[in-house]
Amino acid sequence: MEFQAVILAAGQGSRISDLTSSMPKALLPVANMPMIWYPVQMLEKAGFQEAIVVVLEETRADIEKALVEICDVKIKLEFVTIPDSIDWGTADSLRHIRDKIKTDVMLVSCDVITDVSLHLLADLHRTYDATVTMLLSPAIDITDVSVPGGKANRKMERDIVGLDSTGNRLLFLSSEADIEEEVIPVKRRFLKRHPLMNLHTRLMDGHLYLMKRRVLDLLAEESSISTIKGELMPYLVRKQFSRKDNSSGEMSKKESGGSDEEDYTKLALKMSVWNGNDDRDSDSDSDVRCHAYVMDGGLCLRTNTLVTYCEANRQAGQLIDHKQVHSTANVHQKSQVGSDSLVGDGSTVSERVSVKHSVIGRHCNIGEKCRITNCVIMDYVTIKEGCTLSGCIVCDNVSIDEKCELKDCLVGRSQCIQPMSE
């Protein structure tokens, strides 16, 4: 087994607390499937036989039930729990399961929805014998997507990614917010080694990493690192350029090359137009290598904010092979369900309803003449006749009375909306 798969599903979902207050983040429905199903399914597709899932103590039962019973996944899942009370970072979780990891790790966050072919990533990882390989994808433009709850907090958390001329060596990584004094210092030594760097601000971290086992050892030494994206990755990227004596002993590499070879190299150097110092073995001083696979097209989403959650619901449908309208759902003939919409099992859609760009969960009841556009409607929701909903997220068990008009709203669990409300 080359890689052990680890799914990190212990996130609190602090950026979408409105939705996660009643439900663990990993189970939030995305296109009528729990979020965590996507990474699990991706691993399954790629041929993984087993995976470790890191969950919070209290959510373990629910998640296990959802995955094994409802979604019926074939892959063998081992659940590892971390205590509920402490707020652990992703790197802390990884450190926690260190003893279970024997090989390189394929690490994926539970909120990643992507159709990337993992073998491409793995190939890159193998080709360059990389310490870490990460997934990057062009960030979706979210400025014109309507979101429940107004336009507040729209600020994008952008990363600055530096790649070399091949486009897959990672030379710089920092989130915009972490940059002090509004400038990025670049050292001469670095420039010499990597004279060409492309700096991207429109690339998004896919939260999918391939890591060498020794990264975990490193993690055990550096106890101050608590998150992977925010601290571990930038640390590793920087470490690529620090000198050898800084790197730990077990990371050191055997010097290669006999004396004969040396002589010839010297001769060749003397005869060439090169007069630089002997940094021919450009990686000699640190054997940490960070690489990145940049997706070219395809789907890659992280459902960690409301915006991306909505977006994921709209786009994830294409990853699901079941039908748009579930076989047990009952959609009236005179209703229109757009081709980019989903209706879950046991739901009823009455006469002259129009559903566009929306997801309707299980066992919902949509009354006559409703118009539902750009919405996410979870399970057991009742919407009475004549309602107009656009850009809304409606949680479980909500009932919306007649002729309501909701725009860009987020309706919490088990709420009742009075008739004629706007």
Binding site: V186, K187, R188, V273, W274, N277, D279
Partner: protein, 689 residues
Amino acid sequence: MSATMSKKKSSKREEFKQEEVLQAVVLADSFNIRFAPLTHSRPRALLPLANLPLIDYTLEFLWVSGIQSVIVFCSSHADQIKAHIEASKWSTCTSPMEVRTVVFEGCVSMGDAMREVGARSLITNDFVLVNADVVANVNLASVIEKHKMRRLKDKNTVMTMVFKHVLPGQRTRCREDDVAVCMRKTDCRILSYQKLNNAQRIEIPLAMLQEHKDVQLRYDLIDCQICVCSPHVPILFVDNFDYQTREDFTRGILVEEEISGNAIYVEVIEEEYAARVTNLLMYDAISKDVMDRWVYPVVPDTNISNRTDTKYTLGRHNIYLSQDVTLARSSKLNQNVIIGKGTKVGANTHITQSVIGSNCVIGNDVTLDGAYVWDGVTIGDGCEVTMSILDDRVYLENKVTIKKGCVVGSGVRLGPDVSLPEATKLTSTPPEQGDDSFADEESDKVPVYEVAVADRTLIGINGHAYVYQPPAADGDDEIEDIIDDVWGLTIESDDDVSSSESEDEDEVDASTTPPPDDMKLFYDEVIGTLQRVWSEKIGLDNLIVEINSLKHAYNIQIQEVNTLLTKAIFSQPLHTGHTQKKAYMDKIKKDLSKLQPVLENYIRSSASQTDCLNSLEELAIQIEPFQAVLRDVLFLLYDSDILEEDVIISWYNRLSSAGTDVTMRKKLRTQVEKFITWLQETEEESESD
């Protein structure tokens, strides 16, 4: 009928339109003294590289690029350049390219030249701007075409700069032109242009990344200073009279980008060759590249200047021989050698990586390695020349050794039996006569000569030479660059060593690294303020207020204020030419009589006195003439009750062995020893009283 008339008219107009000729401006003046003393007697444009004047390479390159009309802009030695062009193939009736010379005396910078070009309205179209020291085989036609296309799309395209892809570490990449460029990946628009000089890092503003989607940071380019300019470039120079160099211009355009919208684009050449002979290092590198045939078809055997005396035949291992060359049977020419017409090479002589001019006589048992020997040079038996330039008519007697990095001016005679230390520069003209005739490329800066010349142990009994000293450093960036590039000595010796030492830890050690910018700015401001004390007669109270406000403005610690103020006051007379001991003391006494209250205001406590002393010590280490006066200065400060004896003595006794320049510091202390013993004696006396 009328229809045909109008047709004719329109076709005539078209014809008229097509008459747009492609122009180029060649700056045949380098506006600096990198090549001094070689450039005393002739301009840089006429210095021979591989036995051909530099300007021939530049003109050839322009012709290849399809330029139809060239304006050669000369300032110093204009007559020589004019004469050269008149005698060249460009002035024959079959010349495919029109070459005109324009003389403007008194130009001291590239900015002046461009302003002059603007004022005389010599330019009407897009034009190519190059220096007369470019060696290239690139065809600019496509670059010019692209530039025109861009200008059609965006009126504000002012310039397209041509960069050559050169990885760090290659020989044509010298430290002086160490440049890091940020550009937009999609259209190659320049976003920032930073010269590293000695800095260990560059900074990329975050705002730039936020504004532009894909930014490319490139450190693998050299600036060939070949630019395709829009006609309003000269006008921009006229408008901004403070633009002196092309770098000023680039920086100005980039800074004002948001206001004016002017944009500069980059064109990167990968395959072809382009480089500028900007200094001795580059001279060496490019000569080798020409011999190595990187610049093909610009190689000696293609005879680009079409003169009969520059015909060469190519032999194996890149040996280029002209006509009438006499080689002794036992002489050996190794790789990469050019030998000019009529030159004789003696027995057992080994020549490697060298260019020999015409009509030279090289004796027996001579070793030449990396030597650039110009015309009419005589080299006696048993000489050894390594990586040096010998100007025209140099005469080396027997057994002269010239070590790396030497420049021997024309007509110098050396030997016999002497050895020239590394990086010595000699000239045959004595300093007294020098002042006028040397106002060449640098009309405002007259080179300062070392007074003690003609040292017989250096130049030999039959020698005739004077040591050339470059003008004293006046804090100018340009001069610092020259020091960096002592040819043959410091080829990349420092750099990584120093950088790896200071790597990772942020450079804290102020004594080994140059002071941060704020300090320099503060220092410059203090100097400016002090000067105004004399010129504008501002009151001393105001002076103190001003220094205090500067301190806050630049966030300078009081300790630094003490150090820098001392440095400013005591280095001032040196810059105004009072280098002689007596003149210096007179001047400093006069200064101090006025400035003493200011100094007293800052130098009070024993700690501040220590700062003051340390500053003087540093000054003495940095500036040699100051060493001689250090003792007198200390006495003066003691006498005027600024420094106390205890502090001086404790400073004298405190010599950290770990610090830098220990030997220097020791030497300084021996120089002031007398004063210290005197101090101690008087102290004891006063105690016994």
